[in-house]
Symmetry: D2
Subunit: 413 residues, 4 copies
């Protein structure tokens, strides 16, 4: 039933080979380069090198949808065909960037494909597609519950041919990164507009524009996610030309709506890769350690943990594939029930699976000697990314109640 295209199947093989040959053997080197870097947010030599290799092998920009085939060397992929590729890359938290398939750049490139004019595309989309620069999506603000996008407060005022931005953002992924050149900033151009969804505008802001202050990198559970990182930013009288508006004034909310769906799914696909890898390593560990006279693998409780985790991973993977197929068929908007189902289920399930797997590894499982602690942080963080789970549960619950409230068959009287 999971029938991937020939193209996807071939790419799966090539990608797996690439991971085996170049990524897994370099995990220690990556960590070493990062930890010995003077600036934790500089480009790592290894990354630069691997990107060239991936490009040379045609493992590049795999994220591009078949709807935007013109931007893709390989003609684009459906969500369904792309899913297993994301899972393979996702097994190493930093690997997606090698293939120009990392968040938030994929989402940003998609936004530019859909909404940017030619001039904007030339300036920003082209170097992003080439992997020469990186970008950030600046939406969340520290002082308001940003999961409700109508709460956003950063002000964008027009003055002649210029826009002037004032406000504060945080959790701006990639903003610390040396390679990042562009911020797509969401703010309010018309806070008084009676339609609450027409107050917002999105603007392209070069990172080096005067008035932008990078306040600090943020950590989650002790991780700074360097070199990409998450930053807090301050905008003080930041000026950009009016031509930097994306799509049109007052259409920022519309863009935000269009952007987020697939991104949530990509996070989920990566998490499944991490959960799967944690499971595999736990199986290996359980055959290598002995306690109280028997191998871990022979303890019934270990077998139960492994069995449960296996079943949960199957379910998560099938849900993501079902969701991907639905997005392919009817578009992300009509598939938002399944997107929400993924978002509220998979990060939490992954967190629990990895928690179990860490426990199976003893105290070492919590350290940097294994990938799991960092993966745990990624899963935990995804329960807040793109809005806390609770907001998506609210929306999904409301939608489902409405859908079933009037179903007839089989009601009890």
């Amino acid at each position: 039933m999971n029938t991937f295209s020939e193209k996807s199947l071939n790419l799966q093989v090539k990608l797996q080979d690439f991971m085996d040959q170049y990524v897994y053997p370099n995990e220690q080197l990556y960590r070493h380069q990062l930890n010995s870097a003077g600036n934790r947010f500089a480009v790592l030599p290894l990354m630069a090198e691997l990107k060239e290799k991936a490009k040379a092998q045609g493992l590049w920009n795999l994220f591009i949808s078949d709807r935007h085939a013109e931007y893709s060397d390989i003609g684009g992929l459906s969500n369904f065909d792309y899913a297993p590729l994301v899972e393979i890359m996702g097994r190493v938290t930093w690997a997606s960037e090698i293939f120009n398939c990392n968040a938030p750049d994929t989402g940003n490139m998609e936004v530019l494909m859909k909404y940017a004019n030619q001039h904007q595309q030339h300036n920003w989309l082209t170097p992003l597609l080439a992997g020469e620069i990186r970008s950030s999506y600046a939406m969340t603000e520290p002082q308001v519950a940003s999961s409700d996008a109508t709460n956003i407060e950063l002000s964008i005022q027009r003055k002649g041919d210029q826009l002037i931005l004032n406000g504060r953002k945080w959790f701006i992924t990639g903003a610390m990164y040396e390679l990042t050149r562009l911020f797509i900033v969401m703010g309010k151009t018309d806070a008084g507009h009676p339609d609450k969804h027409k107050q917002q505008t999105q603007v392209l802001v070069p990172k080096d524009t005067p008035g932008i202050r990078i306040v600090r990198p943020l950590t989650t559970l002790g991780y700074d996610d360097a070199p990409v990182g998450h930053a807090e930013l301050e905008f003080t009288d930041v000026k950009v030309p009016i031509g930097n508006i994306l799509l049109g004034e007052g259409r920022g909310f519309e863009i935000a709506q269009g952007r987020l769906g697939p991104g949530r799914i990509h996070h989920c696909m990566r998490l499944i890769g991490l959960a799967q890898r944690a499971l595999e390593q736990s199986c290996q560990r359980s055959t290598q350690r002995t306690t109280f006279g028997r191998k871990l693998s022979q303890h019934q409780s270990v077998r139960e943990d492994i069995a449960k985790s296996f079943a949960e991973i199957q379910m998560m993977r099938q849900l993501v594939l079902q969701c991907s197929a639905k997005m392919d068929e009817v578009g992300p908007q009509a598939a938002r029930d399944l997107i929400a189902a993924c978002k509220i289920s998979i990060p939490l399930m992954t967190q629990n699976i990895i928690d179990r797997c860490m426990q199976l590894h003893g105290a070492g499982g919590l350290t940097e000697d294994y990938f799991m602690a960092e993966a745990f942080n990624y899963a935990r963080w995804c329960r807040q990314a793109d809005g806390p789970d609770q907001v998506h549960q609210m929306a999904l619950g409301k939608q489902i109640i409405k859908a079933y409230a009037s179903v007839s068959g089989g009601k009890d009287e």
Copy 2:
């Protein structure tokens, strides 16, 4: 990605119509006939009537696999194509029998298709396929942990042309039922055989054979599951001709192995139907009741429960479909990892979903006014049926550990 055949899709529509027209409107009548019957294990007039209707509409023996197409009027169905049909029937706990698709008869008929000789088929399979009689599968014994089939103790001794059975069985589904004529009994013909899997033999035993005592009906969580029921049985010098041996002496374990996989999946499919129905009714209920100034449907906690249940049902359904497709492709034996994944996940998840839904219905949710309490019992009971979950977790865990213990890519050093 879930692409059902034309045949399956047509049957889904017809079946749904049948449920809407004849089953849901008769749920109260069914309960009434049952509760006012002199003998709770007699055939209900409604059932007899509905079976005729179903047969007339060609909604009959849908369970027959395409591998046994010769027994099917419609040419058999793959597991994948059959799955949605089971879910539809499963929404009412007693409905499967209408379509001759109920446990344990489906499993028994399959056994007879695969292993019975012509004479045996004539005597038992033919009337079973016609729905004229019912059957039981007598395996579990009260005094031993029967999930390990090698523990079975009922003795089958040969004396001339006869077999003499002595022993005790329990949880023999259908044995109480008036319509039941046949017991397929597993026992030991050669308890001393060095190969523990060759000691067992399965024998066809007419229910009215002298020496069989129906000790009592058993209840689970207070339910007797009448009219089908679960019985405790005693065999005292029960004699059957030697020709009643199925497949061959010492091959009982082999039959047991072949029988159980699909049955587990069918339970899971039915449970999904029940979970789905409980979700739908909860949505309806939540729009009808008001507490503390707002509709239930407007409470965030209710929406979260609904959203979680929806996501879990999606995952369960996809897992069952994946498992069905794998069974179709490589057979139940090679798909035993996914069969086990279903078995250990779906009954428990369904139990929890229904528990949530009952809670949403207030105290009434626990009563006979709703189908949920009985469905809860079915889900709970399935965590023991065909062996407790723990046994399947053990086997699955062992298999997965073995499979991944030597995977190379992406090991931490």
Copy 3:
């Protein structure tokens, strides 16, 4: 730290002896008498006999609080001292009645001690204290969310010296029971009163008053809880003299408030007894059954289940004792945070512990051969009794948020 009085300690020993000598050995007989009774709601001979024995031994009316010492032969007990006694009785679902300590009569007697006038006490409290009759508390209604007592709709109209009751009640525990003579009925005398808490009145209604129809017994999870049972009732022009008003017109809500706290705690204490007993039996079972070459007690997963259940039982018991001590010190109203904490935690935890223990017993664990399935139903049902957990979580959450919202020390800035 759990220092019980000499009186309590002595009663604990006596009660335990009584259970060992007269109750445990008669559990089968009780079930037999019940199942062979012509009327499932008749008094069982065994119960009548045991009540006499308990009375003779001074194990009678132990529930009476030291605040109402005048009604008690032994001078009353504090909640703290009473708690371990309830747990001991609670180990057998039907045992509390032996000692005149069963719900809902204990709560009803307390109401009569606190609010009834001398005449009312003479008529009803005296025979209740003697165990000669039983009583019901009729509050919940099928058509409204009764956890919000202001929703109650049964109408009580005054006509001359009489009150006329019209309405419907359900889940009226004890109403089916042959021995029951009295209903304490909550209804509305003044549905238009501007203060929503002054609309209600409680009235003493003899069960045999014309116009009362016992519609049916209700089941929960398949159990009818006979002989006590839960009934649906219909009141049609039921007439009682005006002197049957309890405390005063418009004070029904006030009585309801005063009644419920301790009752919730008693349910919890009994549940702890059941959980403890299920744990003990699981320990015994685990040393008696062997699967796959080792005793259940040697499987790591079994040990983990046992260890978890033990720890949870300790926590539940300490919470109940803490709550009891607080009720003794400051009264139920001021202890309502801990009462709610018990109510939302202990039934659910007990349900889960018993679920685990049933699973350890194989399929048999779900049957009537063990006490666990019925105990499971009791725990499940308690999550709705006295209002669904969610209502108590709402109230408790609100109270805690208020209490801590302005705490100063250790706020993050």
Copy 4:
């Protein structure tokens, strides 16, 4: 029922005042000093200063048991009386050190009180009690499952008057810390001894002894727990005089047994302080943030989370108190069932409570702006500290099964 002594109650007040006056207001300063330190494992000026203040106020060495009253200025405290003090200190992860009450020094000092000779006490216990130096307990080894202490491999060979140590340790808390001078090292002096519990010896090893290499600090979930930290150590021909043996050759296991119980409980007490603080802050947060038109505090799901967390904290606290009282009465060995119950319940429950509270704080809840992420790490790490929960579940399960296997009353037949 929780009746603390006058002494404890007075100390509770003083300690709370100290926290309010000196600790909470300095949390940012502490973080600042740590993050701007050249060496993350140096003594922080703030800590040095606060220690003097605490000493001056008599809030010093509160951990000393009343059994070792001679070492205490205030005559020692029972476990029960000490418990609420640990909770108060525990609300800030680094605060216990201010009062000389931090792990692992408290456990080490207790070991020295119980087992060291006068000379050893003079050298090490005296400066430890004065807070002049810190110490580590070096037991866990990376290459073996160290929760089974008989697996320890570090070799201690005698050569003349000297002991020569070779081996590797990790997770040695405090070993990185500048102030640390002493390692208590567990190793094997007689690996061939037929009694597996007589092979081990504990030796006092000055941190600056040649041959000791601090390989690296370890992180858990991204935290290095600086300045105290957890180190990996290598011992290569490390020589100490024979007089450094603690208690006697071959008695290392005996010391290990005696050491661990109370330490586990102290971790639990601190965790309860953190859980309580997280709950309080969540209550405050919920009244300050608004989403979708209502305050967080008005969402039913938020109230349910708060209510659940409150109830769980009550249960954890009561369990710890019960355990403390039992240790006071019968000693840690006889109270090991409750110690294990705390160990397997409280870290996990705290992890879950804090997880909920972080989620209530939005993405910010995961950052260093709140204390919760670090507290989460502490709770998670405690599920491995002193052995993984599973090992304690195994031991506890075994003990409980044995205890109840032969209980008579109330067995089902």
